[in-house]
Amino acid sequence: MHDETNKPGAGGSLSVFVVEDEFLIAMDVEMMLEQNGHAVIATAPSVENALRLLEEARPDVALLDMNLRGELVFPVAERLRSLNIPFVLASAYGTVDFEGGEAVADAENIGKPINERRLLDALRRAVGQG
């Protein structure tokens, strides 16, 4: 039998790490997640900031924007992989549009603008509760 209690945020609240350079979108994501009983444990507007926060932060799942003011999010994706933290992309672009896209190739991209239902479903799927 499946032991759901071992899964992060089983049946309830997920702690989410948000990497997004547009503050209004970051805030929107935070509000959407809170309104649905989840918590944003940190938000980062840049790769550097995200990597620094990940020295300590251990979220259940992450949501990544792909293009952070001209910088690609891939180093963050690689770090998350090494920490076994699943992630979801929220990007108006396809991953194949960028060199080095392998780091995020099999992650789900919910696109932009972000649809609330799609965001919640994708985060659940990423942590294996889909």
């Binding site: 547009e22 503050f23 209004l24 970051a26 929107d28 108006a92």
Partner: protein, 329 residues
């Protein structure tokens, strides 16, 4: 001039044709059936910084340092004489000796000597380096613009979704949403075209829509502060939320109420310059702390902390709100 015309001239007066060929700006080569160079025009020598010695009677693919030694190009050229085929704008990007990295477009056409029927190849080479560079720059610019448009759509979507609907009429919702949308536009405008945003101009631009009638909003003239472009939009949005809040609940909701915006600078222990901006409401209705945290308060705090890397303090005094936003410049 096109090749037909050149051909006609070549058949006519040799001397006149020579003059025409000499003044053509693009490099021209005449190749024999074995693809060795029979002649070259001055533009060829000029463009490739070479001379007759290194050019005439040389095989085309040995010219320079073999930049034209491309199997595909040779195959194409070999077909030109027997099949009367032509080559049009074959692109070669290579490092040319003394010239550097260039993108050249090679075109070739068969010519037959009118007297003896000897067939030769006329090869023109156009330097497309600059054109290609401009095209690449244009593509980058279009990509950047595309990114900004997509981003703006997402931001607008976020504003529309998070603008409260509870207890509001459609009119009120629309006005609140459009107020935020306009503030976003005004804040972005302050840094458009690479301009540096500055105080007090940014503050004036954002509160200007609220200055209708005899509403009393004063923005200090001093000191002028240059703002990094990534700080202008967040600060503009914060000021807009303060203004819209003041017109609904604060000092700007009554005729006597006043708002003063002023700021000072400080330097912290790491030698970083900080801006401390004060929004001071007076002579308004008695102020009470809001019961729930609305979008506006949330935007102010979220933005001050995470986007500006500073903090916001909201002090609801009886005589009016004082908001202080402090952030590193």
């Amino acid at each position: 001039m096109d090749l037909d015309e050149l051909y006609r001239l070549l058949r006519g007066s040799h001397v006149r044709a020579q003059g025409v060929v000499d003044t053509i700006r693009d490099p021209l080569l005449v190749l024999g059936p074995d693809l060795t160079v029979i002649s070259a025009n001055p533009a060829f020598y000029r463009t490739f910084k070479t001379d007759r010695e290194a050019t005439i009677d040389m095989p085309f693919d040995k010219l320079g340092e073999g930049q034209w030694n491309i199997d595909e190009l040779r195959l194409l050229l070999e077909q030109v004489i027997p099949r009367s085929a032509s080559v049009f704008d074959y692109e070669v990007t290579a490092e040319f000796p003394h010239v550097g990295l260039r993108t050249m477009l090679v075109s070739a056409q068969r010519l037959a000597h009118p007297d003896n029927g000897q067939r030769v190849l006329l090869v023109t080479i156009a330097d497309a380096t600059e054109r290609r560079r401009v095209e690449v720059e244009k593509d980058i610019l279009i990509g950047e613009l595309d990114h900004r448009i997509k981003n703006l759509l997402s931001v607008t979507h976020a504003l529309a979704r998070q603008t409260d609907v509870a207890g509001r009429s459609a009119d009120e919702y629309r006005d609140t949403f459009l107020g935020r949308f306009e503030a976003l536009g005004r804040s972005m405008e302050a840094t458009a075209n690479g301009r540096t945003a500055e105080l007090p101009a940014l503050a004036r631009a954002v509160v200007e829509p609220y200055m209708e009638g005899d509403r009393d909003i004063s923005v200090a003239d001093e000191a002028k502060v240059d703002l990094a472009s990534n700080k202008a939009t967040p600060l503009g949005m914060i000021l807009h939320e303060l203004a819209t809040n003041a017109t609904k609940f604060g000092a700007l909701s009554v005729p006597a109420g006043r708002v003063k915006i002023h700021w000072k600078l400080s330097t912290d222990e790491d030698d970083v310059s900080w801006v401390h901006l004060n929004w001071v409401e007076t002579d308004g209705p008695e102020t009470v702390s809001p019961e729930a945290t609305g979008f506006g308060t949330r935007l102010i705090r979220f933005t001050a902390e995470r986007e500006l890397g500073g903090r916001a303090e909201l002090s609801y005094r009886r005589e009016g709100l004082i908001a202080t936003v402090s952030f590193p410049r």
